[in-house]
Symmetry: C2
Subunit: 192 residues, 2 copies
């Protein structure tokens, strides 16, 4: 189905252009005309791929999560326990230029998710899924003695919430928390 | 100076109306006409107090921080060490209806702060100030043996970042984290 693939690829290219505009100018900077120009389409051609700004923002948000999950799958691989837990967190934390861009997109779109039932559902399902995976790997690590036998649920709450907070810090005050500090924070969360 | 006081009071009432609109409908729902109606002014009268939407959003953001700091001053009082640290965190965490509303405002406005130098500066100064106070109380608590002698800086990074993450959770998925879980998370962060 070359046509469908082509359609999907073009949608992805448009979303990539939308990410760049959101990251540079904020969500208020997104309008169909500028987005079409950035992506190399006319305004009319753009509506062939997206019905409007709402669909573009929803899709941009879904792609942040999709892209994170692709990296997680590659990073975690067949690891289990402590090694899997750390690799998973590495991909959720804004440690690279790519994941810092994603943090800016996420913070831009959370505001909209507050009043958009589709986006809030997408967000909360993704967080619940990551939380479940963190808890599973953490428990495996405790079971084989890689991590101390603490209350895993409390530890997961703290770690997951700190990872969410890191997106805000990366978007608003990137200079305040180096890669080294982030990794030390992860160690602190796991060493309880 | 009764006239000035009156002017400030009216600005505060308008900001309170703006908070309610942002919390209910999101930041995109804010326009001068609806805000004037909610606050009980004509559109023309409103411009006597605020030059426009930008100034209203900046002031709304400053008031979230101001209001939090008022509660912190009342909550902490003359406490020191562990007791002061907990009271400070109680006011920063979305534990009440009031602070959950503030969390919704903060998440709504962070997106704007990303591209507004005034707002990002206000945010980062407030966070740096809270961070410094948390570190000071934590060190006091370690010094008198109320908390274990761990690496305080790492602990503060983790706690401050988790507190920021809690604002997002309160705004997007309030059902996922009860008051009890939040308090247990605070204990977990402090018991490292």
């Amino acid at each position: 189905m070359p046509k469908l693939v082509d359609h999907e690829e073009r949608r992805r290219a448009i979303i990539a252009a939308a990410w760049q505009i959101i990251a540079d100018r904020g969500i208020d900077g997104i309008n169909m005309r500028d987005l079409a120009a950035e992506a190399g389409y006319t305004n009319g051609a753009l509506t062939h791929y997206f019905s409007g700004k709402d669909e573009i923002l929803q899709t941009a948000f879904e792609h942040v999560i999709y892209s994170t999950n692709l990296r997680i799958a590659a990073g975690v691989g067949r690891r289990r326990g402590h090694a899997a837990l750390r690799k998973l967190c590495f991909e959720l934390m804004p440690l690279t230029e790519e994941s810092t861009l994603e943090a800016r997109i996420a913070v831009s779109l959370w505001q909209r998710a507050m009043t958009d039932p589709v986006m809030v559902r997408v967000n909360n399902l993704a967080v619940a899924d990551w939380r479940t995976r963190i808890a599973g790997y953490w428990q495996e690590a405790v079971d084989v003695g890689e991590l101390p036998a603490v209350n895993v649920e409390r530890g997961v709450d703290l770690l997951m919430t700190a990872v969410i907070g890191l997106q805000v810090t990366a978007a608003l005050d990137p200079g305040s928390l180096s890669r080294k500090s982030q990794l030390a924070m992860l160690d602190a969360a796991l060493s309880r």
